[in-house]
Amino acid sequence: MPIGSLMTEFTLAVAATVIAATLAGVYFTSLNQVADLQKLQVLGLKEQLYYRCDIIYAHSSEGSMTIKLWVKNTGFKDIPRELIEKSEIIILSRDKVYYLLYGNSGNSWSYRLLNDSDGDSRWDPSETIEVEVHLGKTLTSGDYYLKFILFNGVKSEYSLSV
């Protein structure tokens, strides 16, 4: 066999190998990405399920500067104090929007654990907190839409009429 023909065959074999390897690489990378996406989706689902809450009831009255909420941990994980305090409250009314962070001043909210049976100061599943919302102004008669948003973005909503 002439040397030229051998070189051509060798070049073709190498080219075929490179193409096959490239195609396989692309294929494996895509599969990896799909698997990673699935894992991320399940992780997100886990976090949303593990940390959940539900506003049981909210109460206030006309002329009051506070709203009381009772919020139950309906998830599967306990929430430490630091993470509870990262929650946010949004209150919507016809003419005003309140965005409230944890604190002790006006326009903030505070809480206390109601049935901390194990005394660990953590918000365990099935336990309830009493949230007191301090508004900078008195509530007027009307409808209010409350949102309690946990640190991970999971929220519970409640409609209140005073």
């Binding site: 075929a16 399920l49 309906t74």
Partner: protein, 178 residues
């Protein structure tokens, strides 16, 4: 192409195909596991959302601070008596000043607290329960589906239930009265 080149290409392609098939199988197993895990989560969510509690009767005592109520478990699952301290009971009422108040009451089986609630008995269709009966001191047993729990609730002595009132009860898994 000579036989040498053909063999090399064939060998490479076979190796790549085998690797791809193996990888595909691993990926399928992983996806299957993820799917099973996701189904388990959905089941857990489902367990939390089922059923409701129904207030069968409610009565206010003459002292204007004590209420007795019978609440039926309609498909909310077994609730251990030991977990009654994780049940929320909120009483909403109008007092003699005319203002509406809402109070969360702690579980107090001994009745020592200023305000609270305790369980009196668990019955099934008005007769003694047979499934997982609760002891008379309410230290063990279950409040099962279709059973009714009688409770007594009382508010603090500086308040009074002058007029209309209502109860909200929420089980440890988040099922509530309707």
């Amino acid at each position: 192409m000579s036989s040498l080149g053909g063999l090399i290409v064939l060998a490479v392609l076979t190796a790549v195909s085998l690797a791809a098939m193996g990888y595909l199988m691993i990926a399928m197993v992983t996806h299957n596991q993820l799917f099973v895990e996701r189904m388990k989560f959905m089941e857990k969510i489902g367990e939390r959302c089922k059923g409701y509690l129904k207030i069968e009767s409610i009565v206010k005592f003459q002292d204007n601070r004590t209420i007795e109520a019978v609440i039926k478990n309609v498909g909310a699952g077994q609730i251990p008596v030991k977990k009654f301290d994780e049940i929320d009971l909120i009483v909403i009422y109008r007092n003699s000043n005319g203002s509406i108040r809402a109070e969360w009451l702690p579980y107090d089986p001994s009745g020592d607290l200023e305000k609270g609630w305790s369980a009196l008995n668990i019955t099934y269709n008005g007769v003694e329960e047979l499934e997982n009966p609760a002891t008379s001191d309410m230290s063990s047993g279950f409040w099962d589906n279709e059973e009714s729990l009688a409770i007594r609730a009382w508010i603090s002595s500086d308040q009074d239930i002058a007029d209309e009132f209502m109860l909200i009860m929420v089980t440890p898994n988040g099922v509530r009265t309707i």
